[in-house]
């Protein structure tokens, strides 16, 4: 169709300024799609982190705090849970299973969690998936360790590699338990949860490395690894524990019992509920981000409108020629609509391309640094609807210069009023 050819040729002729406009639209689209993608991916990976655990119990602090440090390994517990309390509560008849966990150490910026082999049986994520070993097996010895998939990849470990645990969250030489190295016995398959970034050792292992530490620093008498084994390695305290119930109906009752536990100030959270609360809070930020992105897009469209309006004068001769050759004023209008839609169409595709390129480049970085896995997937239905909506919006925008040109060409006729 002749009009389309004219639009394309005319656009190519003005490609420099058009390119800038297309680029600005592309960037705003990247932003909009990027924010949408990240929030959806983050939400999924967030929600899939833990399932089928009915209660998580820890020292009394805030529910979000407990969820974050026990499941996401973000933040720290304010206090510990004594072993007696754990055993007491875990032996209630409502409890089907329980898994104790102990946090506080790290290995080269990955967090170390002490637990028992029940963890591998009872921890579930996503749609009822349990932890699988890509290589090796769980710990059997005190100085055995298991690592998540990302740890293995980032530090390039194999079975049998030596791991030094550091006290606290930052690996430094003076805070390392370097006299008691651990040996890698298992590497977990990738889960897409914070487990991937965790080093798991037995509770006895945690006790062994702290046996000669008092008050956070190495005390005078140093014990070797073998000597430590002779000590009583029964843990005295843990950070938190997970519970599965025989009947979920009893959730509230047991939760209340734990909250009112007289021996120690404890709290119990329902992970599903706390996840929802946490997400609802974050959701406010994601909405703000989306609104901002929307405004960026509008700014891009307005920029395009400015560009189109500014070229109107120059193009009057062009319009007169087209009229002479037989074009009707609505052809002129259509020219502007087609050109605008074309610009936005290309801009949108370019924006998507930029986004995917960026994601491809930063994907591994995001996983390593933030534990956030953004899958590179094709756009979903919502995003295609957005595409259509933006094209529609661009048609509306194009009507501004289009209608002006329409009227002008009616008035100008063939005379080019210079």
């Amino acid at each position: 169709m002749i009009l389309l050819r004219i639009v394309l040729k005319s656009a190519w002729h003005r490609r420099t300024s058009l390119l800038l406009t297309i680029l600005s639209i592309a960037i705003s689209v990247s932003l909009l799609l990027g924010v949408d993608k990240i929030r959806k991916e983050a939400k999924n990976s967030f929600i899939n982190t833990i399932s089928k655990t009915d209660l998580i119990v820890g020292a009394r602090s805030g529910p979000t705090n407990l969820l974050l440090y026990s499941v996401f390994h973000i933040g720290n517990a304010t206090n510990n849970v004594s072993w007696e309390s754990y055993e007491d509560i875990a032996s209630s008849e409502e409890v089907a299973w329980s898994v104790p966990i102990s946090l506080g150490d790290s290995h080269r910026s990955f967090r170390v969690m002490g637990t028992n082999t029940d963890y591998f049986t009872y921890y579930q994520y996503g749609q009822g998936q349990t932890l699988n070993f890509a290589q090796g097996q769980a710990f059997t010895d005190v100085y055995d360790a298991v690592i998540g998939a990302d740890v293995a990849q980032a530090l390039d470990y194999q079975l049998g590699s030596e791991i030094i645990i550091a006290h606290g969250l930052v690996s430094t030489d003076f805070a390392a338990h370097d006299d008691k190295p651990f040996s890698l016995t298992g590497i977990l398959a990738k889960t897409g949860t914070p487990v991937d970034r965790t080093v798991l050792i037995s509770l006895e292992g945690i006790e062994a490395i702290h046996v000669d530490w008092q008050g956070g620093a190495r005390s005078g008498i140093e014990l070797t690894a073998e000597q430590a084994l002779k000590m009583d390695l029964q843990p005295k305290a843990i950070t938190a524990f997970m519970i599965g119930l025989t009947n979920r109906i009893n959730t509230f009752r047991l939760q209340r019992t734990i909250t009112e536990y007289e021996e120690e100030p404890l709290m119990a959270i329902i992970p599903g509920a706390t996840l929802a609360e946490l997400w609802q809070t974050i959701a406010v930020f994601e909405q703000v981000l989306l609104v901002i992105s929307g405004f960026v897009l509008i700014a891009g469209l307005l920029g395009m409108l400015t560009m189109l309006l500014s070229t109107l004068n120059e193009r009057r001769r062009e319009m007169a020629v087209l009229r002479a050759v037989g074009a009707h004023p609505y052809h002129i209008l259509l020219l502007f609509v087609l050109e605008t839609v074309f610009i936005v169409f290309i801009g949108y595709l370019l924006g998507m391309g930029i986004l995917y390129l960026l994601l491809a480049l930063t994907q591994s970085l995001l996983v390593e640094s933030y534990g956030v896995n953004i899958a590179i997937t094709p756009p979903d239905a919502q995003q295609w609807i957005l595409f259509a909506a933006i094209l529609l919006l661009s048609v509306l925008v194009s009507l501004v210069p289009g209608l002006i040109a329409y009227r002008r060409s009616l008035q100008d006729g063939l005379a080019i009023k210079v």
Binding site: W12, V321, A324, V325, G326, A327, G413, I416
Partner: protein
């Protein structure tokens, strides 16, 4: 089809808001194959007359009949299509679209008229032939318009106006921007091509010298019976000094 290609009868035209007619032409006839020269200085209403002839504007009263079709009986869309099908137009300058090549510019009318497209047959060949006739070197055919001299641009405009055999060619001061050598060459080729195609030519200009080359010369000030005629007025009815 009668020999009368163009017939204006008691045509009156004024812009909205004007109190007196800008144009009042009782009678104007152009026959097939004729070369008509309309003499009119700026401000005499020649632009308006051209708008009427090309169907851009409608007369307020009276009849503008082209090729036995009264333009006032056509809707604006139909008038545009009529112009696309049966007319070729040449301006004083800036005839060509800067983003199309020479060949594409010449073939442009065929995109708007099926009739012209059919008449032209093999459009490329026809365009090339016209351009050659008009002394445009072949090397420029696929070049951008900016590479052409003014003379070449104007001659290309002739090619564009003639492709597809329109019955009527309307030229609005096409030589005003040309030097005398180019002007002569232009006129020679314009006559040659319009005669070859049997088109009727309406040529509007203020240049007396060119008028001598035409068989039929009309002075707009004389055929225009409008009261505006004596002093010079612009389209809005404001007196020119």
């Amino acid at each position: 089809m009668s020999a009368r290609v163009i017939h204006l009868q008691d045509v009156r035209f004024r812009w909205p808001g004007q109190e007196v007619d800008l144009l009042h032409i009782p009678d104007l006839v152009v026959n097939k194959g004729e070369h008509l020269f309309i003499q009119g200085p700026s401000g005499s209403g020649k632009t308006t007359l051209l708008n009427l002839l090309t169907g851009i504007n409608l007369a307020n009263s009276g009849s503008v009949t082209m090729l036995d079709t009264p333009l006032e009986s056509l809707s604006s869309t139909r008038r545009d299509q009529f112009r696309a099908d049966h007319l070729g137009v040449i301006f004083q300058q800036f005839n060509l679209l800067p983003y199309l090549s020479l060949m594409e510019n010449v073939q442009l009318p065929c995109g708007f008229s099926a009739r012209k497209r059919n008449n032209a047959g093999d459009m490329r060949a026809t365009a090339m032939r016209l351009l050659s006739h008009l002394s445009i070197p072949e090397t420029l055919f696929n070049q951008s318009v900016s590479k052409l001299s003014v003379g070449q641009q104007q001659r290309t405009a002739v090619a564009r106006a003639l492709i597809g055999n329109p019955e009527i060619v309307i030229a609005d001061e096409p030589t005003s921007a040309l030097d005398s050598a180019n002007r002569n060459r232009f006129m020679e080729l314009l006559f040659q091509e319009t005669e070859e195609q049997g088109s009727t030519l309406v040529f509007v200009s203020h240049d007396q010298q060119i008028a001598e080359q035409f068989s039929h010369v009309v002075d707009l000030n004389q055929i225009n019976q409008s009261q505006f005629n004596q002093p010079q007025f612009n389209q809005m009815g404001h007196e020119l000094s």
